[in-house]
């Protein structure tokens, strides 16, 4: 069994998910990143897409739109403007993330008018 580490997915309105995981994949502005235990300290900007959290027994898919990823002392924090847990696979999550982005763009257009 792979070593596990602490993962928190936090959005401004609530803590979306928090727990132990063995593997996390996420999409940053530079490309996809895979994180396992004892990753070097990293700070990355998140893009719109899906993040997957693999615990030993389960896989959680989160739709993420923007935000940051911090890896520090075996603690992974996903700080996202908008994050939602999605039932289903990565494609569903990606679609959900794009829907979040579209909703936000629509809201911003409303304001500028």
């Amino acid at each position: 069994m792979a070593a596990s580490f602490q993962v928190d997915v936090v959005s401004p309105e609530a803590t979306v998910w928090s727990g132990e995981a063995e593997l996390v994949t996420a999409r940053t502005t530079e490309g996809d990143i895979g994180i396992m235990a004892d990753h070097e300290p990293t700070m990355a900007a998140l893009a719109t897409g899906s993040a997957e959290i693999h615990t030993g027994s389960d896989k959680i898919t989160v739709a993420v739109h923007g935000g940051f990823l911090q890896i520090y002392r075996n603690q992974v924090t996903l700080l996202s403007d908008r994050a939602e847990i999605v039932e289903g696979d990565a494609d569903a999550a990606r679609q959900q993330a794009e829907a979040l982005r579209d909703a936000e763009e629509a809201a911003q257009e409303d304001q500028s008018e």
Binding site: V10, T15, T29, M43, F68, L79, A107, Q111
Partner: protein, 293 residues
């Protein structure tokens, strides 16, 4: 008939009682909303905490990063953001904040500093408009249950003004939710951003970060988020304070109404008794007259 006075008093009792029904209902509603508003304040806390942690890490790692949003520049135009509610009946909640803000506006005018005023909530909007202040931008309908989108709209507005150098600083006047019993109107500096104090010691952060893409662009993205999160936290606290203030005001009103009905029903009893006494003495007087005749 002498019952005119009695009728008037009974009518007042009815009117006070129906007002009391309204105030006690409002008290109950406000009480239930405080709980929800408080839960939202707590739910937003982890995000802000993490963001502060990230910012202090990036700041330390990039060696005292400089950024336009962090620079203190000479203040020629001061931005003032006033956070009040849309509805009244909340005791001194709105007037406390407005008083604080107006005092500052006058102070700034005496120092010959120009000001730009932004209002959140209908109450501050109408107060300042009535007194001839120019309001650059007002945000209505957000204070009851503020969403992150509302915070973002406000943060974006002041960020744009700051970037265009229309203002050189922005301070918010708002109510902080200290506890269920105390809420205080305070001044909350927003821009330039004062970087959060570092909690870790320097050697702890010395472990170099790998940045994707690079520290500058991360900081560029982080600072506006931080402002948004601050504004969001501020709105949530203001909303919790509003409900707490309203609950207190309505509780006082209900108690006052109870007291008033007590006094009024005593008066009504007295009036009724006086009426009966008159009636009896009239009857007795009439009977006396008959026997005498």
């Amino acid at each position: 008939m002498a019952s005119a006075e009695l009728r008037l008093i009974r009518r007042r009792i009815r009117s006070v009682e129906s007002t009391m029904k309204i105030t006690s209902a409002m008290e109950l509603i406000a009480a239930s909303r405080i709980v929800r508003a408080q839960a939202r304040v707590e739910a937003a806390q982890p995000y802000t905490d993490k963001l502060v942690e990230v910012i202090s890490n990036v700041g330390a790692a990039s060696g005292g990063a400089s950024h336009p949003l962090l620079d203190i520049r000479e203040r020629r135009v001061a931005g003032v953001l006033v956070v009040t509610s849309d509805r009244g009946l909340a005791g001194g909640y709105n007037s406390n904040v407005i008083r604080l803000a107006e005092r500052r506006l006058i102070e700034l005018r005496n120092q010959r500093t120009d000001t730009r005023l932004y209002c959140v909530g209908r109450k501050s909007n109408s107060y300042f408009r009535y007194r001839g202040y120019q309001i650059e931008r007002s945000f209505l309908g957000v204070t009851d249950t503020p969403g992150y989108g509302d915070a973002r709209a406000i943060a974006n507005t002041i960020l744009n003004e700051y970037a265009e150098e229309a203002v050189d600083s922005v301070d918010a006047f708002t109510t902080r939710y200290v506890s269920a019993l105390t809420q205080t109107a305070t001044e909350w500096p927003l821009l330039p951003i004062q970087p959060p104090a570092r909690e870790q010691s320097a050697d702890e952060i010395a472990t170099g970060y790998t940045y994707e893409p690079n520290p500058e662009s991360i900081l560029n993205r982080l600072l506006p988020r931080y402002l948004e999160a601050s504004v969001f936290g501020m709105l949530l606290e203001a909303s919790a304070s509003e409900h707490a203030a309203r609950r207190r005001a309505m509780k006082a009103a209900t108690e006052a109404a109870e007291e008033l009905t007590k006094i009024l029903s005593r008066e009504a009893n007295q009036a009724r008794q006086a009426e009966i006494t008159t009636e009896i003495s009239e009857i007795v007087g009439g009977a006396e007259a008959l026997t005498a005749g």
